[in-house]
């Protein structure tokens, strides 16, 4: 391979002392630290990087930056890496993607021949029918052609993504001259500044400029570096701006993660992204060797790479003129220097795999291997669009300009106009000062409004008027589409392979609004997200419709500004998993972990059926800490209980426990649990595990907003008390060995009572006699610091009684045998109280209770589903939960199985289900539709409880 590295350039960013070895499609190459993958490959003579998406055309460097549409490569196990911006690292294994079988020979090139079949709407028109063909044929074949690299699920090594929250007063998006100047002036005005630059270095276009540019850059950079108020994020992209200046920043190549999502709450957002160079539409404009002036200047000046040997340059602006000097300095022969302002043009480029001939606008054909165009600029107004702006097209400058933005978003730099480096910096300076003023005024106002939280520092800054002198709008020709006869073959969207003719065709088919055309042709929908294509697409449409650009409009730029990897969005989740004080013990004793809401719990210890049976026969203990526990104190607790439960609570003696169900204001069952009275004005409420937070918030809601005069204090003690249920016929015998200060005899401590006492030497334990399992059982709430001691004491003292721990699965089996329903499992978001089998529990004669009018209405209805116990007629068949209960003849859905298990006690399957009232009578045979399509029958039972419906076992 040839070596195209140039002698040292004044602004080069490569470290020639540090060579880095890497491979490209298996071959070894060397680059330097500071190279991008693309610059290193180009320096080694690589010209073709990829195949295009649809037509599989060979593609090379176009922009040599993050937006390059053709430089997506696979790096090791990481797909879709942007070679234009990813820095080279030693040992990288880089390969082309989207090629089959390889880069030089791709069977998909046949698509070029049959290209007319792949024109606009091809997919919509072709892959519609027959329907089965999609799964069996189209999908499989198309997968081979699908763009994108390979995901390696098993070996992925780039998975440690991270997140961060930040609160800068001013965030500057873009580190060019205006952005740097804005950051410095904002920092000097005492604002905390975050300066975010897309590229790995500050400077913007100054970096590949002339000696004056480099001098100005050095000065601005040292001012940024010197200011302690400025945090600089390099190789980072501001990807979105949301309400109240909530700004997302994607920080790449961070020390601790390949990508980090920074969520910033920003006082003022300064938008200074500069301008993005626009490609020119002519036939062959995607041939390798055709590149934008910025790409040529970057290759030569940043990485000292010679981009070709014989160049045709088409320039419509001073930057295009400057590239000629750079090319000449790099030893590139200028075959033709065309001036678009004087009417010069490129008609067509020919060449396969590399430019070979260029047909000029005047009909001459010249030999060249490099075509450089500088035909205009796109203002990346995305962040302004996200702040509500609809930029306006100015035909005299041939680009869009900001229109109206909120006060806390300020635009500066090239996006707002043209100027010398000094003028751009001056505008940035004024913008930074203004941004700081508005941010500091906001900070002051926020602190003043929350004076109880934090006092503002000093007086509020005075309003600073916006006296900025706008940057000039230098005239620029409208250079979009070549005058060549074949110009419409030119690509508009390189990443989606959409040519100008496709847009013309779409317009002809009636998709003649820019938004419709975008969706129909997929133009601007590729990884470059319109940065290169949007304005050209509008121009082609304007021409096709013979309209003015300003009347065509643009597509709306929405977040993200640049694609974000899903890993970064998932990132680190700042949500702790809750663990009871006993979870370490469970882990150490073989418990299968169950993630339930916020909690990790023991599902079982290896034998859920055996553990359940042991509860029926001996005694078992289960950690039920996630059970919501709310300590209620005050003289008005009874009023609160009357309000939130469907049943009555006035006459609950101290030491008694009552079961209650809660419904929401719409009459739908929302939670249930038991509440016990511990003292005169002291109660302990339990809720379901998943409903603990919601019930707490609901209680606070009614206490704060509805009955603020009630004197009740609610304290959540869910984690403070570790809850251990001791269940089984031998539970009393076990507790007798460990409990002090409580008479455990059935007469002194009957069912549904609560006592406080000492367990295994631990004082102030609360012991309830209740039973979800249907056995004699005690629920012991232990101060969590002593929970492990009590748990181990129970196990040690129960050894001769056959004690075994059991988990959530065994508890579910036991409660289903006993017919206890679970809110959210046997009920859903439509289940009103009568459908939960609450019967006489609900009291409709109360003056006030949640959802009372709905409850009254519900109890007058006869068509509501009914909760019933069902036993399949085949005792060994366990229907799946959510299997439908259907009418045997018509297949009409009449209900569903809500819970099902094999009962170890009965040796048969048992279920709960919601059924139509016509099926609710005991003895009714129901048809159950199984997931595999088979049907089976079951019989509705008289009681919900399959085991011990009389409740003898729990009342001993």
């Amino acid at each position: 391979m040839s070596n195209l590295r140039l002698p040292e350039r004044p602004g080069e960013v490569i470290d020639r002392g540090t060579p880095l070895s890497f491979t490209w499609n298996g071959k070894s190459f060397t680059g330097h630290r500071g190279d991008t993958i693309a610059s290193a490959l180009t320096a080694n003579g690589v010209e073709v990087f990829a195949r295009s998406m649809k037509y599989k055309r060979k593609r090379g460097i176009m922009t040599a930056d993050h937006w390059d549409p053709n430089l997506f490569v696979q790096v090791g196990d990481e797909p879709n890496v942007r070679a234009g911006s990813r820095r080279l690292e030693a040992g990288m294994q880089v390969s082309a993607q989207n090629v089959w079988p390889n880069l030089n020979f791709d069977v998909g090139t046949a698509n070029q021949v049959v290209g007319r079949f792949l024109s606009s709407g091809f997919y919509y028109k072709t892959f519609m029918r027959p329907k089965w063909f999609w799964h069996n044929v189209y999908q499989r074949v198309l997968r081979k052609f699908a763009p994108g690299g390979r995901i390696h699920w098993e070996t992925s090594t780039h998975g440690a993504y991270d997140k961060r929250y930040a609160h800068p007063d001013v965030l500057v998006a873009g580190g060019g001259p205006a952005g740097m100047a804005a950051a410095v002036s904002a920092a000097e005005a005492d604002a905390k500044v975050m300066l975010v630059e897309h590229e790995p270095e500050l400077g913007g276009h100054l970096r590949w400029g002339d000696a004056d540019d480099l001098a100005a850059l050095a000065e601005l950079r040292s001012a940024v570096d010197a200011h302690p108020n400025i945090e600089v994020l390099l190789d980072s992209t501001v990807t979105g701006r949301y309400d109240h200046n909530w700004v997302a920043v994607m920080q790449r190549s961070h020390d601790i993660a390949p990508e980090r999502l920074v969520k910033a709450r920003v006082g003022s957002l300064v938008v200074a992204p500069g301008l993005i160079e626009r490609p020119y539409v002519f036939s062959g404009n995607d041939t390798p060797g055709v590149m934008l002036s910025g790409a040529a200047r970057r290759l030569i000046n940043l990485w000292a790479v010679k981009p070709g040997s014989k160049a045709v340059v088409l320039s419509a602006n001073p930057e295009g003129d400057a590239v000629i000097a750079d090319l000449e300095a790099a030893g590139v022969e200028i075959v033709a220097a065309l001036d678009a302002r004087a009417g010069d043009d490129i008609a067509e480029v020919k060449g396969s795999g590399r430019v070979s001939k260029v047909v000029l606008g005047d009909g001459r054909t010249v030999d060249a291997d490099l075509v450089v165009t500088a035909t205009g600029w796109t203002a990346p107004t995305s962040l302004l669009n996200m702040a509500g702006d609809r930029p306006v097209y100015d035909p005299s400058a041939a680009r869009y300009f900001p229109n109206q933005v909120p006060d806390n978003v300020l635009a500066t730099g090239g996006i707002t106009g043209n100027g010398s480096t000094a003028e751009l910096a001056a505008h940035g300076t004024a913008t930074g000062t203004l941004a700081a003023n508005r941010a500091l005024r906001l900070r002051h106002a926020r602190r003043a409004a929350a004076s109880r939280a934090r006092s503002p520092e000093g007086p509020r800054p005075e309003v600073l008027e916006d006296t900025r002198t706008p940057l000039a709008r230098v005239p620029h020709p409208e250079c979009y589409l070549s005058s060549g006869a074949n110009a419409k073959k030119g690509m508009v969207d390189y990443s989606e392979d959409v040519a100008a003719k496709d847009l013309v065709q779409a317009a002809g088919e009636g998709f003649d609004s820019i938004e419709l055309m975008k969706r129909y042709t997929t133009v601007t929908m590729g990884p470059t997200q319109g940065k290169l294509e949007t304005v050209n697409a509008a121009a082609v449409l304007a021409k096709a419709r013979q309209m003015e650009m300003v009347d065509i409009g643009t597509t709306v730029w929405r977040p993200p500004y640049a694609p974000i990897s899903l890993g970064a969005l998932a990132g680190r989740i700042f949500e702790p998993v809750r663990r009871s004080a006993l979870q370490d013990w469970h882990d150490a004793h073989g418990a299968a972990p169950l993630l339930a809401g916020q909690w990790v719990r023991p599902d079982h210890y290896g034998d859920p059926m055996g553990e359940a049976l042991n509860v029926r026969e001996n005694v078992g203990i289960i950690d039920v800490t996630p059970l919501g526990k709310l300590d209620l104190r005050g003289p008005d607790v009874t009023k609160l209980l009357e309000l939130v439960y469907v049943n009555k609570w006035q006459k609950l003696d101290i030491g008694r426990v009552r079961y209650g169900t809660m419904v929401a204001e719409d009459g739908v069952v929302s939670d249930d649990g038991v509440t016990g009275r511990l003292g005169e004005d002291h109660y302990l409420m339990t809720t379901t595990s998943s409903g603990a937070g919601a019930v707490w918030e609901m209680l606070e809601d009614y206490l704060q907003t509805y009955r603020p005069e009630w004197d009740v204090h609610v304290t959540a003690v869910t984690g403070g008390l570790t809850s251990i249920n001791v269940a089984g016929p031998k539970s009393r015998e076990l507790l007798l060995r460990l409990v002090d200060g409580v008479d455990l005899s059935p007469e002194a401590f009957p069912y549904f009572n609560v006592r406080r006492g000492t367990v295994a030497g631990v004082e102030d334990c609360i012991i309830w006699r209740i039973g979800f399992t249907g056995e004699l059982s005690y629920e012991v709430h232990v101060p969590s610091g002593h929970a492990l001691h009590v748990w181990e004491a129970l196990l040690a003292n129960g050894e001769d009684l056959g004690i075994k721990p059991f988990g959530v699965e065994s508890q579910r089996i036991l409660r289903l045998e006993k017919g206890h329903y679970i809110v959210g499992q046997d009920t859903d978001g439509l289940t009103k109280a009568p459908s939960a089998g609450l019967g006489g529990l609900v009291k409709l004669d109360k003056p006030d209770t949640l959802g009372l009018p709905e409850l009254k209405a519900a109890y007058e209805r006869t068509d509501l589903p009914v909760l019933v116990a069902v036993q399949p007629d085949d005792p060994q068949l366990v229907p799946t939960e959510a299997d439908q209960i259907v009418d045997g003849d018509s297949n009409r859905i009449l209900g569903r199985i809500t819970s099902s298990r094999m009962s170890p006690t009965l040796g048969r399957s048992v279920c709960l289900g919601q059924v139509d009232p016509s099926l609710a009578a005991a003895g009714t045979s129901v048809t159950i539709l199984l997931v595999d399509g088979r049907r089976t029958t079951g019989t509705v039972q008289e009681h919900h409880a399959h085991v011990d419906p009389e409740g003898v076992r729990q009342n001993v």
């Binding site: 109240h244 409004a449 929350a450 809601d701 704060q704 709905e854």
Partner: protein, 82 residues
């Protein structure tokens, strides 16, 4: 994500709080007709403009408070503890 000013905890991300919607007045459940009750349950003004709404500071002081918010612009006026 908007910033909601909690009177106790200061400005917080809205994800720290729970929006409870427009202020409603709960009819007397003993006497309310079903239709009045369902108006309370489901019907809101939902204006494109200023609305007084309740928020719950679920990650901070655990107080319910009201703010005035412009639903069209998300501009927020004073907040007060209910």
């Amino acid at each position: 994500m908007i910033v909601v000013p909690c009177p106790n905890c200061g400005p917080r991300n809205s994800s720290d709080l729970r929006p409870c919607g427009e202020i409603t007045s709960r009819p007397d459940p003993a006497t309310a007709s079903l239709s009045e009750w369902r108006t309370y349950l489901y019907l809101r003004e939902n204006p494109a403009g200023w609305v007084t709404e309740t928020w719950y500071c679920r990650s901070g002081c655990r107080r319910y408070f009201t703010i005035e918010r412009n639903t069209a612009t998300n501009e927020i006026r004073d907040s007060e503890v209910s």
